[in-house]
Symmetry: C2
Subunit: 500 residues, 2 copies
């Protein structure tokens, strides 16, 4: 047995994943660790999937509700979705098999602001949580849990659950101990301020204290986190990133930002990678991140001495960088803090630190409403994740995206967003490879020209025609032509392209 389980009581609970899965009943509400491809349970999901398949073979039902921090990985969301083991899932997913199951109507999914997800459980909206399944690096003698590569909603789920199953993953470095900063925001009606003033402030413990008597199983694993490999920066991403950096430069010139007080929030993807690569060569110094996930580019910025501290709730590292993190966690933990999701994504701290948010999108409309989740208003891709938490509370909110997708069949600028995740009240700046649409301080009609200027040239005439039609409305504040407002999306569904 691993010496990573130092608590005597919990050493007595060690069993196989298959045995532990027997403790999760049909219909149970299960809160799991996991945020992007990090820190999710590596063994239980497969055992749950197996149990579901066995039940189906016998004509029985076995489905559970699964709550996590955010997306997980193929050996978590993927295996359970493939086995039809999930009835309801929240708050976020990005697994291809699960996405198909959701769009096929085979499982229920609720796409929730990440900062709300732990709170919904705490407030009792789901009743009592049955089981928490949480991966850790080690268990201390006192029975405290040392988080692995992410914290997510672990504290909320461990506190709320009737039963706890712990996975101790010896792939995770023991040197991660000291990186996590565990602070509970407190229960109503006695919540107190979160005392983070600067992104690097540590305000809690390095461990999660739990009621050890709730632990029903401890499972040993030795399996890597699974995130997507790093993609080299392409030309289009470099262009968009260039405009983003130009925008930052403009803020400095305008006296609204200084080279040494840029606090970054960044979504995941090619463009954020390119932005972080660009920051390596920029005039910005002492960059801080107050964000959701630690990405390769932030590790590079730390190594280059450009970033002093990165606060997040989890890693989202390529396999190569995850190995590097495991090897050098002792060094990185001076610069990296992992916090509970209710702290990393809390409007209170986000608004206080004055960050500039930067998130991807599927489409924006001519007035700046943003669709982050649904193609043609119906086919859900991933979810809103934390983009709402950061966008609404950022000092400046930006959306960065290529101007088209699917070889030009889909325009990122449309007349009327087919699903709205961030309203015209929230989006300030939209950036594509054609430039920056700075919507701050603009009434709706003054936004359309800015938005069309960052659309793909192939779509600009169609958008201008729409604005012309809309201008015949009786109402000139936010004019629309309702009959053709969704025409781009109707064409996409009918012909496979938004083009005429």
């Amino acid at each position: 047995m691993s010496d990573r389980i130092a608590n005597a009581l919990l050493r007595g609970k060690v069993m196989s994943a298959d045995e532990a899965a027997q403790l999760i009943d049909n219909g149970d509400k299960v809160g799991m660790s996991g945020f992007t491809g990090a820190a999710y349970p590596k063994a239980l999901p497969t055992a749950i999937a197996k149990r579901a398949k066995e039940a189906q073979a016998k004509g029985d039902s076995y489905k559970i509700d699964v709550f996590t921090g955010a997306s997980t990985a193929p050996d978590c969301d993927g295996v359970m979705a493939e086995a039809g083991a999930i009835n309801y899932r929240m708050p976020y997913q990005s697994d291809p098999i699960m996405r198909n199951a959701i769009n096929a109507g085979e499982m229920k999914y609720q796409d929730i602001h990440l900062s709300h997800s732990g709170q919904y459980v705490e407030h009792g909206f789901y009743g009592k949580l049955d089981v928490a399944v949480v991966e850790v690096t080690r268990i201390t003698e006192e029975g405290h849990l040392i988080p692995s590569s992410g914290v997510g909603n672990n504290v909320d789920y461990l506190d709320a659950a009737k039963k706890i199953i712990i996975e101790v993953n010896s792939w995770q470095s023991l040197d991660l101990e000291g990186m996590a900063d565990i602070h509970r925001i407190g229960h109503l009606p006695n919540r107190t301020p979160i005392p983070i003033v600067h992104t690097g402030d540590r305000i809690g413990n390095t461990y999660i204290d739990i009621d050890v008597t709730k632990v029903v199983a401890v499972v040993e694993t030795d399996a890597p986190d699974r995130n997507a490999p790093f993609k080299p920066v392409d030309e289009q991403s470099r262009k968009i990133a260039g405009y983003f950096l130009d925008f930052l430069e403009g803020e400095v010139q305008g006296g609204r930002l200084a080279y040494d007080n840029y606090v970054m929030q960044s979504g995941v993807g090619n463009v954020p990678n390119a932005v972080m690569a660009g920051l390596l060569d920029s005039k910005f110094e002492n960059i801080e991140a107050y964000t959701e996930v630690i990405q390769d580019g932030m590790v590079d910025l730390i190594d280059a001495g450009k970033m002093t501290v990165a606060s997040a709730t989890s890693f989202s590292l390529s396999p190569e960088y995850a190995e590097k993190m495991n090897a050098e966690a002792k060094r990185y933990r001076k610069h990296i803090i992992t916090r509970p999701l209710q702290v990393s994504n809390h409007p209170e701290v986000i608004r206080r630190v004055g960050l500039i948010s930067s998130n991807g999108m599927i489409e924006a409309d001519i007035y700046g409403n943003i669709n982050s989740t649904h193609v043609a208003g119906q086919r859900i891709m991933n979810g809103i994740g934390g983009s709402g938490d950061f966008t609404r509370n950022a000092r400046i909110s930006t959306f960065i995206s290529p101007s088209d997708a699917k070889g030009g069949a889909i325009s990122a600028v449309v007349p009327f967003a087919s699903h709205i995740d961030h309203t015209e009240h929230d989006a300030m700046v939209v950036i594509t490879e054609y430039g920056v649409a700075d919507l701050r301080g603009l009434a709706p009609r003054d936004r359309t020209a800015k938005m069309i200027a960052v659309a793909h040239p192939d779509y600009r005439p169609l958008l201008e025609e729409y604005v012309e039609r809309a201008s015949k409305s009786k109402f000139h504040h936010t004019p629309h032509d309702l009959a053709t407002a969704l025409s781009f999306h109707e064409r996409l569904l009918e012909t496979g392209s938004m083009k005429k």
Copy 2:
């Protein structure tokens, strides 16, 4: 000269409103006090309107940008809009003349989350503010300003402006002194937590300290605030309020609320009035309000000993109650706190105190997206106000509305919201005179039946037909039929009714 101007320097700045208006130049950005029909400047707007008309008569241009706390009154927004004196207006308005000017495309309006408005100015999105025009109850010997019936964005505008014009209104009671709690949230990058733990906590000064050398004019007025008279509660409002109170009762039964820890946020209108009347006879005790405006119903709850404290940024009282407040401010200031808008509406405090929000709407769609602002997606009514600040950060967010409007021509439940101010990620509960649609924990398709059940019976068959058509989509997570998604609104524009 009034003894309300105790500072010697500022006594030397007293002049007429017409003289003071000469200090506001064409093109100026002017931050005014005012939040609902309270605490707005009573004299300058009329003088500005006069100046604009004189300029127009000479063929000159005279237009200013006007920033306030929220809506004001006919003798502020109304007179300036009527004179065509405004180029750009933010963050909120509700004046009929101004609304028409906006929808006619004659003036620009940006509808902004109230908690963002002061911050946008602070962050320099508009450049330097030229003038602040702020009503006060009195000026102390030190030159401190004692707020009148509201605080709004006064602190931000007074801090940011190059020039200050003060209106000292002797209609406002001197006993209001002590009601305001002035706290600055601090400038980036050194913001600190807002130390409010309980709604009644006082954390600042009773006055606003200003740079007196910026004051260019002091104008004396004696004019009442102007809010709409109280309307008696009608049968429909009583029904909706009944369902809201039933919902609260259900939360208590479900262990998610206690009779003595209800923290209220409430929009303005007939239904909120009915809710507050209903609370008088309920089992709820020690009710607290952490909200935007003090309404008649809260005064009644305080008088009945049912409400211990009401925190807001301004009054929104009927003329009768405003007189009562003026007469008895000494008593009420033990129970009422007026705060800067950046505090009253700050996500930090809203989320901390765990309030239940309750706001009106124009329409909700079958998945729970909420339109608060635009009829048929185009004709703006008022604005989002603080409803986004409260909805996103409430413990439980509710929207309350009659199921139809304009004699049945407009349904409050539609297939696809024609403008979205609060997304499906934010709205938890929708209440009409037909009941409660509790959307918490539900995937989109499970929401449609709940939403249709609270629609007006005349519209239910049309909504069911739409759901049936939408179910033929290839995508079953959030199915839509795009060709008819906006058909209710198209019919309204074509025929004057959403009915077939």
